[in-house]
Symmetry: C2
């Protein structure tokens, strides 16, 4: 019996289905959306995919994704070059930028220490961080890793590695998320919030 | 202050964010997935998008999407050309094909009657359906529209339009979904299931 979908549609559905967070139904919905969308929208999407692979590279200084190395953050003289915020992934840089509370530099590790997945310190972008500490006028390192087992392990590792260098090493505060309910906080978060209490 | 994302990445996130079912977080996740994916996967996706817009058209007979007109279903002599199943969208054709219970032809309306969205019978692919009834050897029309207000209105409209032509007009059964719980069925569905009860 003939298939109801012809080749090109099925190939498009399959291609979208491979992306994270998109299942078969979502992929089908997107494929039909693109089919009925105007030529320009589809062309823009295809071009954006091709362009990002052609243009985007990693910053030689901080390891963030960028089009030119050093990246705009590392190259910006208005930013505070005495503070480096260490994060796991490029998207974490964007999360911190969105707070509009931070004016320093970044360093992207490209992951966290995870023995289960065979990711050790040597697989992370740590050597370049040590290089930066030699040449830069860095006064503080903020460890902003994910608050999970892998992030904690990486925080502990980096803290032990960096503290002897005489640079201030800090980490993000643990506590209750703003807008949440104390009743629904887990014990560990509530325990950390208590331990980290401050003058009101 | 410099942006953390360079132009190409932001353009890719924006392009994905426009697709149905993909929010800003999902778009960002997909963009970074593509950044770290191998060249081939990204190229395949971009090509699939370009290809589908270049190749896919609507079948002149049934209105389904296809690469050649008439589509493989309309052109297949092994299918039952005496039955036409009328659906709203091309994706509904695939849903019915997946049951492997249907061997007839299809007719895709391209939507349903919806006065709130200014969609009337003249905006749907109904004229071509009437043409097919003149020339084809059709004995039965199955109305397989969505079981919502717009689908019901379209079913009623088509039923009144087609019945005088002396062709058998049927519609999909309403009732309890298989695998569901009687306790959680809404009153209308349960009422339909009662009204449509059959010999066990």
């Amino acid at each position: 019996m003939a298939l109801a979908y012809d080749g090109a549609i099925q190939r498009l559905i399959d291609a979208f289905n491979k992306l994270p967070g998109i299942g078969p139904k979502g992929a089908q919905r997107i494929a039909f959306h693109l089919l009925s969308a105007d030529e320009q929208e589809a062309a823009d999407l295809a071009d954006a995919i091709t362009e990002v692979k052609a243009k985007v590279r990693f910053c030689d200084v901080c390891g963030n994704v960028c089009e030119s190395s050093p990246c705009p953050v590392c190259a910006d003289p208005r930013r505070d070059h005495t503070v480096i915020c260490v994060v796991e992934e490029p998207k974490d840089v964007m999360s911190i930028e969105r707070t509009r509370e931070y004016r320093g530099l970044y360093h992207v590790l490209g992951g966290a220490i995870n023995p289960m997945a065979n990711v050790g310190p040597s697989d992370l972008n740590i050597a370049k961080l040590l290089d930066r500490l030699k040449t830069d006028e860095v006064k503080e390192i903020i460890l902003a890793l994910d608050p999970n087992i892998e992030g904690e392990a990486t925080t502990t590792y980096l803290s032990r590695l960096l503290s002897p260098l005489g640079i201030k090493v800090t980490r993000l505060a643990s506590g209750l998320p703003v807008g949440s309910d104390l009743e629904y906080a887990d014990e560990i978060t509530l325990g950390r919030a208590l331990a980290g209490r401050r003058e009101a």
